[in-house]
């Protein structure tokens, strides 16, 4: 949006004087000009790539303990929370009753119903950016992308905090003074006999990759515009 309101500057036209066809194309571009066709296609591709987030987990929390050589862990999907292996969620809930943690019940987590719509919005926005073809709009999309991600992480942290700290101390079987069981947002942490390792899942990497692609497109367009003498995003 910002770049749309930019006015052409005088030294932009001063640079005129084409010697090759490419230069001539560069020269005649204006601040409000649409994105190049290749950039638009790239943006559509990125928007479509995001649809992969419906088919793979966004984030994985692996629980490592000697008694679980077969593996144990949770997958956070855009619309569900499930075990890494069949039965894992059940096992984790059963283990958590020892420390008084409440049950993880995916059906009672509203975010899992909201997130698919947020993702659809993000994808739709991407398509609109490609259709309209304004660099400013692309930048706005990137900002929204970051905002959604930040909100997601904050939400993830808060849920983790709630599960890890609000323990039913009256019924907890194992009570370790001062111990809380919040899993890390990213990285690993020792929780009693378990080592909790939190890392992006395939859909998480897809989302990060998509953002980096979109940001690169914007950056290339931005650089090109800078050469054309613009300021602004």
């Amino acid at each position: 949006m910002v770049s749309v309101s930019n006015k052409p500057q005088s030294d932009g036209s001063a640079k005129a004087g084409p010697s090759t066809p490419t230069e001539s194309l560069e020269r005649i571009r204006r601040p409000g000009d649409p994105l190049r066709m290749s950039s638009r296609f790239a943006i559509v591709a990125v928007a479509l790539l995001l649809s992969l987030t419906y088919y793979f987990p966004l984030w994985e929390i692996t629980l490592d303990a000697p008694q679980y050589p077969e593996g144990l862990g949770l997958e956070i999907w855009i619309n569900q929370i499930q075990g890494q292996h069949p039965g894992d969620l059940n096992k984790i809930n059963n283990l958590n009753h020892y420390i008084g943690m409440k049950k993880i019940q995916p059906e009672s987590i509203p975010e899992l119903r909201v997130m698919p719509w947020v993702m659809r919005g993000l994808m739709l926005f991407g398509i609109v950016v490609a259709l309209v073809g304004k660099r400013g709009l692309l930048f706005a999309w990137l900002v929204l992308f970051v905002a959604v991600a930040a909100a997601g992480f904050v939400d993830f942290y808060l849920w983790g905090y709630d599960y890890g700290h609000n323990l039913d101390t009256e019924h907890a079987i194992i009570k370790v003074p001062g111990m809380s069981y919040q899993p890390p947002v990213i990285g690993s942490k020792k929780l009693l006999n378990f080592k909790a390792i939190s890392l992006p899942g395939i859909a998480g990497y897809v989302a990060i990759g998509s953002f980096l692609c979109a940001a690169s497109v914007w950056f290339i367009e931005f650089r090109r515009a800078r050469k054309g003498g613009f300021r602004g995003l």
């Binding site: 039965g87 059940n90 096992k91 059963n94 079987i173």
Partner: protein
């Protein structure tokens, strides 16, 4: 004739002396002569064995599961005998599996495990095993390693030559080791010759579910049918049964059943039998036998069967032939190609090998040497492919390595003899400790054996292990057959008596091994799906306790309202859905064993309180850090 008898008698005495002396005679492998044996059987902690071996428990009535090459025991699968460790035959759900027409029989003598096959090769689906004493067959599911079906064999006694499978597990067989009046009647024992008969039974196996069904029986002359194998390849459609006591003696069999120079291998054309039955040529005989199985809800059911289809062998030309075979043959083993039938005459000085193609030719040419109670006897010379000369003493059983070699166990000379198919020359021999019965090569009875090891299944151990009083462990010995010379690698003890064993590559079973039962698929009528459904219900003098277990408590754990004289049924559902987390259940004064309930399973224990008071119950399987706390009380009032 008289001198002949005398000679035989002298030979018999000679053998007896050998039996007595054989353990002491065998040469022992020199200490320190084992080379790299330790490395060959060492399966490092946390790593897996290459093969599963299933060994019969003999008179323990069970099957044991070992790893090869380590010789480590993993599990005992209860089959024909109650097993308090697992609650098998004690829980209401599994009791029906031990039902017979003679009532509840919690024991049998289990002899020959047999893995299911497709196209003559092990497929890893089921294991069958016979019960010799009260003729029965059982099927074990190899995803759960649990017995899921038993079937009683009517018109039979001593179900020894069983349960050998046909090449696509179309059938498992059963045959009578002890001839008796069929149908049973009250006659003088010394009328055996005229009154005793045998049967050979074909039990159809459903290819989808494994469910067994006695398809038909063949009434055969009353001699002792001993062991069997089905033909394969060119001999597909036939089964072979070794026999002894063609003398039809009914007393002092030791002597009287060892008179004839030749007994028989019965060749049975089961494809023809199938056709005859399809054409309605079989007679329907009244019968009374039990068929027991775990139903879709994992609850044992018993059906009483009242009929059987009988084919009288002498009325159907081409159905059964007798191949003369020296001296009370035991093993009757078909080589991987399906052409050779190796007979092992316990008292014979050679190993005769019959040729299937010569047998077919002889039948075409009518090369018969009379008949036995209406069954044609094929001329020995017309059916014999070759004889292994001077193999050793007391040949019992032969298996194959798939590389053209056969391995025969020698009970009397206590050794394994390796010889070549086709040339019949002995190429190697190795002592066993002591008195080997059967031997087993993984897949050694199939089209494609895994000829890496042979396992000797020994009857006597004497000084091989630390002594444990008069009764010593039976044992197996693992022998490397990958090279030209056999090499002893390992001795390991077995449970009961390991008559026979079967083995298959671990990879066939590992992936399919069940970790737990899905609770949502538990259709036991007394199952509860969640702790909230736990309850106590009274129905007259019956009290049903719907009890749940999950780490680490019972629900309910305080039960009141029970009276002396009530029948209390504890229906215990294990709500766990995790690998290796069974819970146990035991109550003070119960006359049954504990229950051991797998995750997602329901098992029922019947308890009849005899006195008023407050009685504890608890979990018997250490399930978690708070296992000790997993207990409850039941109040019994007058």
């Amino acid at each position: 004739m008289r001198t002949n008898r005398l000679l035989l008698f002298t030979l018999g005495v000679g053998f007896l002396i050998l039996v007595a002396l054989s353990p002491g005679c065998a040469d022992k492998q020199e200490a320190g002569g084992f080379g790299d044996a330790a490395a060959k059987v060492y399966v490092a902690p946390g790593t897996y064995d290459e093969f599963y071996a299933f060994m019969s428990g003999g008179f323990s009535g069970q099957v044991s599961v070992y790893g090869l090459p380590s010789g480590r025991l993993f599990r005992v699968i209860p089959v024909f005998s109650q097993d308090p460790e697992k609650g098998y035959g004690y829980s209401e759900e599994t009791k029906p599996l031990l039902m017979t027409s003679h009532g509840f029989i919690p024991w049998d003598d289990a002899h020959h495990p047999q893995l299911s096959v497709s196209d003559g090769q092990t497929n890893g689906r089921w294991l069958f095993i016979n019960g010799n004493n009260t003729p029965r067959l059982a099927r074990i599911d190899l995803t759960t390693f649990e017995t899921v079906e038993t079937i009683e064999i009517p018109n039979s006694a001593g179900n020894h030559g069983s349960p050998y499978v046909t090449p696509n597990t179309e059938y498992v067989v059963a045959s009578t080791r002890f001839s008796v009046p069929i149908p049973q009647k009250d006659v003088p024992i010394n009328t055996a010759k005229e009154n005793f008969k045998g049967t050979i039974s074909y039990i159809k196996v459903d290819s989808a579910t494994g469910r067994m069904n006695l398809a038909f029986q063949i009434l055969v002359p009353g001699i002792a049918y001993d062991l069997s194998r089905a033909g394969k390849g060119p001999s597909h459609g036939w089964s072979f049964f070794s026999s002894y006591n063609t003398e039809q003696a009914s007393t002092q069999l030791e002597v009287n059943a060892s008179q004839n120079d030749k007994d028989f291998i019965a060749a049975v054309n089961w494809k023809l039998a199938e056709e005859l039955v399809a054409q309605g040529k079989g007679q329907t005989w009244p019968a009374n036998y039990y068929h027991n199985y775990m139903d879709a809800a994992d609850v044992g059911q018993s059906e009483v069967m009242k009929e059987v289809i009988m084919l009288n062998a002498r009325e159907h030309p081409g159905l059964v032939y007798y191949l003369p075979t020296p001296k009370s043959p035991h093993g009757c083993d078909v080589d991987p190609s399906g052409e050779y039938i190796v007979a092992s005459g316990k008292l014979a000085a050679l190993i005769p090998v019959h040729s299937f193609s010569k047998f077919q030719q002889a039948v075409q040419n009518n090369d018969f040497d009379g008949e036995f109670e209406g069954i044609p006897i094929v001329k020995y010379e017309s059916v014999i492919a070759g004889e292994v000369k001077e193999p050793g003493l007391g040949p019992l059983h032969t298996e194959f390595d798939g590389k053209g070699n056969a391995y025969t166990s020698m009970f009397l000379s206590s050794e394994i003899v390796k010889w070549k198919l086709g040339t019949w020359e002995v190429v190697d021999r190795i002592p066993t400790y002591y008195s080997i019965g059967h031997l087993m090569i993984p897949g050694g009875d199939t089209k494609q054996p895994y000829g890496k090891y042979v396992v000797a299944l020994n009857k006597i151990t004497k000084d091989r292990y630390l002594p444990t009083g008069p009764e010593l462990t039976h044992a197996a010995q693992l022998i490397d057959i990958s090279g030209d010379k056999m090499k002893l690698l390992l001795d390991f003890p077995t449970i009961g008596e390991p008559h026979y064993a079967q083995a298959c590559p671990a990879s066939l079973l590992v992936e399919n091994s069940k970790r737990w039962y899905a609770i949502e698929e538990n259709h036991n009528p007394h199952a509860i799906k969640a702790e909230g459904e736990a309850r106590v219900e009274r129905d007259g003098r019956d009290v049903h306790v719907y009890l749940s277990t999950i780490r680490t408590h019972f629900a309910p754990d305080n039960i009141e309202g029970v009276k002396v004289g009530d029948k209390v049924y504890f229906h215990v559902t294990n709500l766990e859905q995790d690998w290796d987390v069974p819970h146990g259940f035991a109550v003070h004064g119960a006359s049954t064993s504990e229950l051991l309930v797998m995750p997602g399973q329901t098992r029922t224990l019947l308890w009849e309180p005899r006195m008023a008071g407050v009685i504890p119950f608890y979990c018997t399987d250490f399930c978690s850090a708070l296992h000790q706390e997993m207990q409850g009380w039941i109040r019994v009032s007058n």
